[in-house]
């Protein structure tokens, strides 16, 4: 039995300090009492309110725009259109020369009469009140010269092209061995195509900005995952040095990848505030977020698996066709995980893009794995059935000894342990492998499982930490907490590192004046910012020790033992010890300060030498109504192995959230792009369904005890998105097991099951 840790059962031994403990969120009381200030809640004297008007066509140009009536509306201060907007750089090429420029490029707004996508901003009204601005926006009259556009992804797959790279700068294709021959010769084959729809992030907090100028210095209060990107994006769009832009984002009501780059709210607020010499506040409406704040593109995936009769894979092929924007390419790395997941000597992964006249796609939770594993792990389930093999046994038989494409060892890999522990806890042996046979009353019951894999990223980060004469510690990073618990885990890291109680540590985030980090995204936040802070604390301890040894005022003066420790508020050198606060008061009344950094993972030797991923196994039980085909969850279990767990409670919460995303992707999330007009039809939360409480049922999360010393000094690995990876496939496989109906077009709504579900006698 694998060693596990839960919030009740945390590990002991080398990590018995603050790290790992399931402590409550540091920012929890602020949030539940409404004192955590979100972007749009900020208020400044003399502030004005903006409202954006979007285009009513998806392609063409504005022939005429009449703003006279809007300008006459009482309270209106400014109506900005392409005719009077300040000059901004052209948008530029669809593909930036380098990957980082995707995040920093200028994103001009209202700089052209050309419309590139439906609901693209064509005017901004700023008024004394939001209501006046909105009313006036409704009075702007626009005449368009519309042009035919490309909106139907499935009709245009033949127009696909191969991009130069995928998101994150990964290779577009990978080819190992001779897949076609191996597949042709394989006695057991699966060749299946899955379709995943457009999806939208829909964080609870919309994109919102309050911009204020003071002289030529600009302060942006916004909701941003990565401040450095926002700063660069604002600066390049406005044509000012980044040093003159300050981004403030202490609390974020969800991001999920759609707050990694600046959007129109930020740019337009900055431009309007400059024009009016007043602070200006703008939020995207929920409806506007569908066109203007990113999406996951519609995809078709073909998975081909060739196996011998024992289920050993001879060939794996994963082809992805994805919609993309005609003016800014985004290629989700949907087949990238396939390069590391299972062993097979012959392999192909390929990404192709179909350009449409829509806005760009953006990084949406677990980019790559979320849609990719939804398809691939269902295909594995199809193969297991074809082989009459248990799905866990099939995966176990294809467990690789080293990374199957890179040929390097894994830093840690506990996929099989996750599956075995999960099977035991879930009662997997109760599953009837023949689908459609388990019924309780008028409900068909099904079990499904899927593997989870997610690469471990680390981004360059720096932290500054200081300790004062009272032993109070403050840490500063431009890191963000998008609701994941970053304030809390960073507090734990500093507290454990310096041997101080949680209450002695204050972590300050979300201000671009603080040392630069990679922000929150790609599950790299905790490992990157956490490692930087860990290193900063070590540097701080060094400084304290050096001064304590050398200062004559120090009770540790002259202590020359090499062993030193910080614990329980004391510094111990050899046999001598002193209270940390007293020591600092004696030797450095102004306290100490230090910085620490980590380099980006891709540049490190360890990253090159090891395949670094976190792993997991998802299990799901569903019930399907035999009359209506309504699918409801009964329970889910995730067993995860993701290195050292920094806080068992916030880690669990992240996995729970990911599992809910899995349910959404499998069963309900879909944005419909109207192929006639290029607009997302169901662009609100009543029509775009995400799971609600009633859809979730029972969920359990278990972490295997793990420490990945190759990943970073903390031994932790990316965690947040792992909960999504494979979760939807476990649900989909459970629906198949319940009904015998394999739906290959996500989401699996009841209409897709109904037609194939025979009537059950009454």
């Amino acid at each position: 039995m694998a060693k596990t840790m839960t919030s009740e059962n945390r590990p002991s031994g080398p990590h018995s300090g603050a790290i790992g403990r399931p402590i409550d969120r540091i920012d929890g009381p602020l949030k539940v009492t409404g004192r955590a200030t979100y972007a749009y809640e900020n208020a400044l004297e003399d502030m004005a309110y903006g409202c954006i008007l979007g285009a009513a066509i998806a392609k063409g140009r504005i022939a005429e725009i009449d703003t006279a009536e809007a300008e006459r509306t009482p309270g209106v201060l400014l109506v900005m259109t392409h005719r009077n907007a300040p000059a901004q750089p052209d948008f530029g090429p669809a593909v930036t020369p380098t990957v980082p420029e995707v995040f920093t490029r200028a994103r001009p707004a209202l700089n052209s009469r050309w419309v590139r996508y439906y609901d693209e901003p064509i005017a901004l009204v700023v008024a004394e009140t939001f209501e006046a601005a909105r009313a006036a926006a409704g009075l702007i009259r626009v005449r368009y010269d519309a042009e035919p556009g490309r909106y139907d992804f499935r009709m245009r797959v033949a127009e696909a092209y191969a991009p130069k790279r995928t998101n994150a700068g990964l290779e577009t294709d990978s080819v190992i061995g001779d897949f076609e021959s191996a597949f042709a010769a394989a006695p057991v084959k699966i060749d299946t195509a899955y379709r995943t729809p457009f999806e939208h992030h829909n964080p609870m907090e919309p994109h919102a900005t309050l911009a204020a100028w003071s002289g030529n210095e600009l302060t942006i209060h916004t909701s941003a995952q990565t401040l450095v990107n926002f700063r660069a994006g604002v600066a390049s769009t406005l044509g000012i040095p980044p040093e003159r832009v300050r981004i403030v984002s202490p609390f974020i009501g969800g991001g999920f990848g759609c707050k990694l780059i600046v959007h129109a709210d930020t740019i337009l607020a900055a431009l309007a505030a400059q024009a009016l010499q007043r602070p200006v506040k703008i939020a995207l409406t929920r409806q506007q977020m569908f066109a203007n704040a990113g999406h996951r593109a519609e995809m078709i995936q073909q998975v081909r698996l060739g196996a011998d009769n024992d289920g050993r894979l001879a060939g794996i092929s994963h082809d992805v066709w994805s919609a993309t924007s005609s003016f800014e390419e985004y290629c989700e790395q949907t087949a990238a995980f396939t390069r590391s997941l299972y062993a097979a000597p012959n392999r192909i992964t390929r990404h192709r893009l179909v350009p449409l006249d829509i806005n760009r796609g953006e990084w949406m939770r677990s980019p790559g794995e979320a849609p990719g594993m939804l398809a691939f792990e269902c295909a594995m389930d199809e193969l297991a059935e074809r082989l009459s093999l248990d799905p866990i046994e099939l995966r176990t038989r294809n467990e690789p000894a080293q990374d199957p494409e890179r040929g390097v060892p894994f830093s840690t890999r506990n996929l099989v342990a996750c599956m075995e522990e999960g099977a035991r806890r879930f009662g997997w042996q109760r599953r009837d492998p023949t689908p459609g046979r388990t019924r309780e009353g008028r409900k068909l019951i099904g079990y499904g499982m899927a593997a989870a894999i997610r690469p471990n990223y680390i981004g360059a980060a720096t932290a500054r930490v200081a300790i004062d004469r009272n032993g109070q510690v403050t840490a500063w990073l431009d890191m963000t907490d998008i609701g994941t618990g970053t304030y809390t885990i960073l507090t734990q890291i500093a507290a454990e590192s310096l041997g101080l109680p949680i209450a002695s540590v204050k972590v300050k985030l979300g201000d671009s004046r603080f040392p630069r980090t990679a922000g929150s995204g790609g599950s790299w936040g905790a490992a990157s910012a956490g490692s930087a802070l860990y290193n900063a604390c070590n540097a701080l301890k060094q400084r304290i020790l050096e001064a304590a040894r050398s200062s004559e005022a120090s009770p540790l003066h002259g202590a020359n033992a090499t062993e030193a420790s910080f614990a329980d508020g004391e510094v111990r050198v050899g046999q001598r010890s002193a209270s940390l606060a007293d020591l600092i008061a004696e030797i450095a009344p102004d306290g100490f300060e230090a910085e620490g950094s980590v380099a980006a993972g891709a540049t490190t030797e360890s990253y090159k030498a090891y395949s670094q991923h976190s792993y997991g196994a998802h299990f799901a039980e569903v019930e399907v109504d035999c009359d209506t085909s309504e699918i409801r969850m009964r329970r889910m279990l995730a067993v995860m192995a993701a290195g050292r767990i920094l806080n068992a409670k916030t880690a669990r919460s992240q996995i729970l959230g990911g599992m809910a995303w899995g349910i959404g992707a499998a069963l309900m999330e879909e944005t419909v792009l109207d192929p006639r007009s290029g607009h997302f039809v169901n662009h609100d939360l009543a029509e775009y369904h995400v799971p609600v409480n009633g859809d979730i049922a029972e969920m359990e999360v278990v972490f295997l005890e793990e420490h990945d010393d190759k990943a970073n000094p903390l031994g932790a690995k990316g965690l947040g998105e792992l909960g999504v990876c494979g979760a939807g496939a476990a649900v989909a496989n459970a629906v198949y097991n319940a009904t015998g109906v394999r739906v290959r077009e996500f989401p699996i709504t009841l209409d897709k099951v109904l037609a194939a579900l025979p009537l059950t006698a009454i």
Partner: protein, 328 residues
Amino acid sequence: MQSFTYERAESTEQAAAAVAARPDARFISGGTNLLDLMKLGIERPAHLVDISRLPLDRIEETDEGGLRIGAQVRNSDLAADPQVRLRYPMLAQALLAGASGQIRNKASTAGNLLQRTRCPYFYDRNMPCNKREQGSGCAALQGFNRMHAVLGASKACIAVHPSDMAVAMSGLDARIETISPRGETRTIPIGDLHRLPEAMPDVETVLAHGEMIASVTLPPPPPGRQVYRKVRDRASYAFALVSVAAIVEKSGDRIRSARIAMGGVAAKPWRATAAEHALVGAATSDTAFTDAAEAALAGAVGHGGNDFKIPLAKRTVRYTLATAAERA
């Protein structure tokens, strides 16, 4: 949202007169639908008459042994009323299957009846919609119409009425009592309250401008077991794909009487009277329920995305009848 003036009505008569006096005036009660529509510029009243505080918030027994529900009774209060729960359980079930707790706390009985369709093209001012702008066309007909009507629709409009409550009330033969701006009252059977779209989908009810719903009267509950079954894409907070309110009165193994009302299939709650008649005297058998379901959907037409609603509604009618007959 355009600017509007607001007044709080002091009496029923004054409220009706205040709206009647201005063609651009509207009643407002809970505002759970109207405010959304105003923010999007779909409803553009220049004047609102707030009727939420009128003394129309009581639930009283009638002389005939039924229930009179004030127009301003909140959905959550109606669902929790002991008489409703005991004698009209399918009404309580329907109410609790609708919207969210927060919305039910605000939404009024009359407002629920008069709520407007959630067709996404109706909600988007850039899209053609005959209901929003007569003569502009129907974007749903050839568009994304998964939620749309399979019965009683026209080429001009295929929107559905989204209410759950109204479906149960339809099955219970509710009567709508209104007061006109001149103080006259009239009673409208619920089946006559909503219009089918035909060529004028923008005219949704038979109510005159300024005519205000004062109450909804339920006759004594018919004999038989009541069941409301809502089929939806998620467990809560979703409109019905289809819903069925059914009452089956048995005599031994035979059906003495039955009622079937469907939601999510038409621009109004849809009573399947032919199917009801066919059940009278039939055995409580799978065959009878299946035949009734076929009859209930006779003439149904899909528009592509909503074709599945026809078999789904049939299966749901069949199962709901069986449940009401205590056979499933």
